[in-house]
């Protein structure tokens, strides 16, 4: 059987991959996908803790799963708004490369 620590390490590794993607890639769509990876890594550790903390009735703690449900909803809304912003940006600048978008740079 896999332990709680295994799930947490796998979740941390997925978060690290997403974080490295945000830091290393320069294509704004890839950065956005890496953000999704990070959100889902957090979801995995939440569900692992939910399954680990069994209540008096012998069932998992479903509060964490409701939280994950909310996170998935917010992430779906975030993807829709973010992609609309990327499309608007592409229409204005004809690029998805973050180094070409530096008007706000100090």
């Amino acid at each position: 059987m896999a332990t709680l620590g295994d799930y947490l390490i796998v979740s941390g590794l997925l978060f690290t991959i997403g974080f490295a993607g945000v830091l290393l890639r320069r294509n704004i769509i890839i950065i956005f996908m890496s953000l999704e990876l990070m959100l889902n890594a957090a979801n995995l550790s939440l569900v692992a803790f939910s399954r680990f903390r069994v209540g008096a009735d012998g069932l998992p703690n479903y509060n964490a799963q409701v939280f994950v449900f909310f996170i998935i909803t917010v992430a779906a809304a975030e993807v829709a708004v973010g992609l609309a912003i990327i499309v608007a940006l592409y229409r204005a600048r004809q690029t998805t490369h973050v180094e070409d978008i530096s008007s706000l740079k100090f």
Partner: protein, 167 residues
Amino acid sequence: MPAYLFWFFALLMLIFGAAVVINRGPVASALSLVLSFLGLAALFMSLDAFFIGIIQVLVYTGAVMVLFLFIIMLLDLRAEERRKIKTVTFVGGLAVALALFVQICLVVGQLRSAQETFPALPAAPGDDVHAVGLLLFNGYNLPFQIMAVLVLVATIGVIVLSKRELR
């Protein structure tokens, strides 16, 4: 779920997660992300969270990834031309990410219950859609309605963003 299935799906998720970051073309990245999320949904089901697993497949691999692919094809993005990425930037970014992972490992190492396996559930746990739904509408009714407003606002925002010409 047997241990070898856990490691199989965890490796599937991590390898294709890494492929998202490594691939040059956005389409290949998006398809890798689909496979990575399928592995993640299997991990959710290995934790007896069947509802969350199904939602993961429906929302992420069904809706979100189709949206991603739609935008990639709409913008007609080719594989990005190789630009010189500064070595300092590359090494620095990798070092920061690795430092984060080492810290996560240290925290998990400190956690006393990390070595324990998951406690057994009663013979037929089954109906977790029922349990999650009951909790959602009884305990979290107000957040649920706020979420509905949020989705409405996001819909209107997307329409406004895509209609107006930005300068």
